[in-house]
């Protein structure tokens, strides 16, 4: 365990923060710019995973396990969300034969 912590410590904390922020921003841009429901969905997962990375880094730097436990909560609940989300996308595909979110304009935005 110590060697992993040492490896993580080898990179300064600021770099983790920057990396996670960049990945998070990529996720946000993906959600806002892409039109395919599955790709949007993947971008959301990217956002959540950047949060996981940052939590782990903070947790190691502070020597506090709570951050890593939170990562497990995020992973479990993200899995629950994936299950429901994919079911919704399949339901849409059955009705419209498309997963492009531009089809979804029956209700005004």
């Amino acid at each position: 365990m110590n060697s992993i912590a040492n490896t993580i410590h080898a990179v300064p904390l600021n770099h983790y923060i920057l990396l996670s922020t960049i990945i998070f921003s990529i996720g946000v841009m993906g959600v806002l710019l892409r039109r395919n429901a599955i790709v949007i969905f993947m971008s959301v997962e990217l956002m959540l995973n950047s949060v996981n990375l940052l939590l782990t880094a903070f947790s190691v730097y502070r020597g506090d396990a709570a951050g890593q436990v939170f990562v497990f909560f995020i992973m479990a609940l993200a899995a629950a969300e994936v299950a429901v989300g994919l079911a919704i996308i399949v339901m849409i595909y059955r009705n419209t034969n498309s997963i492009d979110i531009n089809v979804l304009n029956r209700l005004k935005w």
Partner: protein
């Protein structure tokens, strides 16, 4: 805690009842179970609660009051659902079960004492709601509502989580008390992580409660979802969102309110104007209620901008008044829609002549939503405005009063349609359950309007 356990076990029992085809027993079992949960919540009252499970949850008076409020509203909505879900599908046990799972999430949300539990509660509630919004599998509007709600909900959760992470990074804990102590011991710190974290949490929570500029999913989702699910989303869920918002900001961030209160002030004013002005142009009653729910989110944000000793009470009074009035409105919408097949205002033409009681209940509900004196809505607005005036936020109150005047216009459109427009129509059949819910809600609305002390000193 007992309340939460009962509310979590009850849906599993209901699923078994559904499995063994005991359709008739579903509603009675649900209501009896929820009444037991209600009693368990009331027993917690004034027991001088301490945080339990390593500071994860705290069932204090605040959490008891909001749990009781959400359970009562959910019981009223479930009573309206008698005979409603059977028309959508034959598997009705799932509806009751998922609504109750969502309620369990709401109870976690109003009793959290650790940011982990805030996240878990919001997710339990939201994941259930994604399913409920899309529960009409072959109806395209319902599908669209589910997908929009899901994508926006997951997106906002990302912001909330990033905010929580940054706050953990600077304070080193998820516990609300530890975060507060950190803020108190670092009064002049300019920790960019911490302040960015607060802003991201505001973004995430504003998405969840539907405040402008993060409100754009609200009208579509509320219009596409089945009416009673919309009623649940716009009353119980919204009240819980504000309870969580208040709990987090009053416990942890109240000492740095000079930093975040201007941000929420701008959000509040934008929410009020966008909600009210767009509601003016709606032809559909359901969509009008969706926009009015946005503007009510604006009034509820007042208590957070002007954070003070009475804020928790004003949120509770306002949320109760708004929930009860909305439940009447959605119940009436379900009945009128069943008869006329339309959500539009024209569907209400001439309702007063054939159904005087239904029209009277809907009138009381609209008066309460508009904030006319002698109804609960007026008391709610009164508490909100007096809280803001105590902190000399005059401009904000003036803007809110202008908005209240605008809102009278669209609420009265329904009343005018019912009493002064005539149309050929037959009497709408009002089932006994609906009569009970309408009667109870009207009584509560008027009782709070005349004796606000009934609920105004609870917290």
């Amino acid at each position: 805690m007992t309340t939460l356990i009962i509310i979590s076990v009850l849906p599993i029992v209901l699923l078994y009842l559904g499995l063994y085809k005991a359709q008739k027993a579903l509603l009675p079992v649900t209501i009896v179970g929820m009444l037991i949960a209600l009693a368990a919540a009331v027993m917690q009252w004034n027991t001088n609660a301490q945080p339990i499970y390593n500071g994860m949850m705290l069932f204090d008076n605040f959490s008891v009051v909001f749990s009781v409020g959400s359970i009562v509203s959910t019981i009223l909505i479930l009573m309206l659902s008698k005979g409603y879900f059977e028309k959508i599908s034959s598997h009705i046990a799932e509806y009751y079960a998922i609504i109750l799972f969502s309620l369990a999430g709401i109870i976690v949300m109003v009793s959290f004492h650790n940011l982990t539990m805030l996240f878990v509660g919001i997710e339990i509630m939201s994941v259930s709601l994604y399913i409920l919004a899309g529960i009409r599998k072959n109806d395209f509007a319902s599908n669209e509502a589910a997908l929009k709600y899901f994508l926006m909900g997951a997106f906002s959760t990302g912001f909330l989580l990033f905010g929580i992470t940054l706050i953990y990074g600077s304070t080193g804990s998820f516990d609300l008390d530890v975060i507060r102590d950190w803020v108190v011991t670092h009064p002049k710190s300019h920790d960019a992580l911490f302040y960015t974290g607060i802003l991201l949490i505001i973004v995430g929570l504003c998405f969840k409660v539907g405040a402008a500029p993060f409100h754009f999913w609200t009208p579509d989702v509320y219009e596409g979802a089945p009416a009673l699910i919309t009623a649940f989303m716009s009353t119980v869920v919204k009240a819980a969102g504000f309870a969580a918002f208040y709990r987090l900001f009053s416990v942890s961030f109240s000492t740095v309110s000079s930093f975040w209160s201007p941000v929420i002030l701008v959000i509040t004013i934008a929410t009020l104007f966008i909600g009210n002005i767009t509601a003016l142009y709606q032809q559909s009653f359901k969509r009008m209620l969706a926009f009015s729910s946005i503007s009510h989110a604006g009034y509820l944000l007042f208590a957070i901008v002007a954070l003070g000793a009475a804020s928790a009470n004003s949120i509770f009074v306002y949320a109760t008044a708004y929930s009860i009035a909305s439940i009447i409105a959605f119940g009436a919408l379900v009945l009128v829609r069943q008869q006329t097949g339309t959500d539009n205002f024209e569907g209400f033409n001439g309702l007063a002549r054939k159904n005087p009681f239904l029209a009277f209940a809907l009138t009381i509900s609209m008066l309460s939503l508009a904030g006319i004196p002698l109804t609960a809505g007026f008391i709610g607005k009164f508490f909100m405005f007096s809280g803001a005036l105590l902190q000399y936020k005059y401009l904000m109150v003036i803007i809110a009063v202008i908005n209240a005047i605008i809102s009278i216009f669209y609420y009265f459109r329904v009343i005018i349609a019912m009493y002064f427009r005539s149309a050929e129509r037959t009497e709408v059949l009002v089932p006994a359950y609906y009569k009970f819910v309408f009667g109870f809600s009207v009584l509560v609305t008027i009782a709070i309007g005349i004796y606000p002390e009934l609920i105004s000193r609870l917290i």
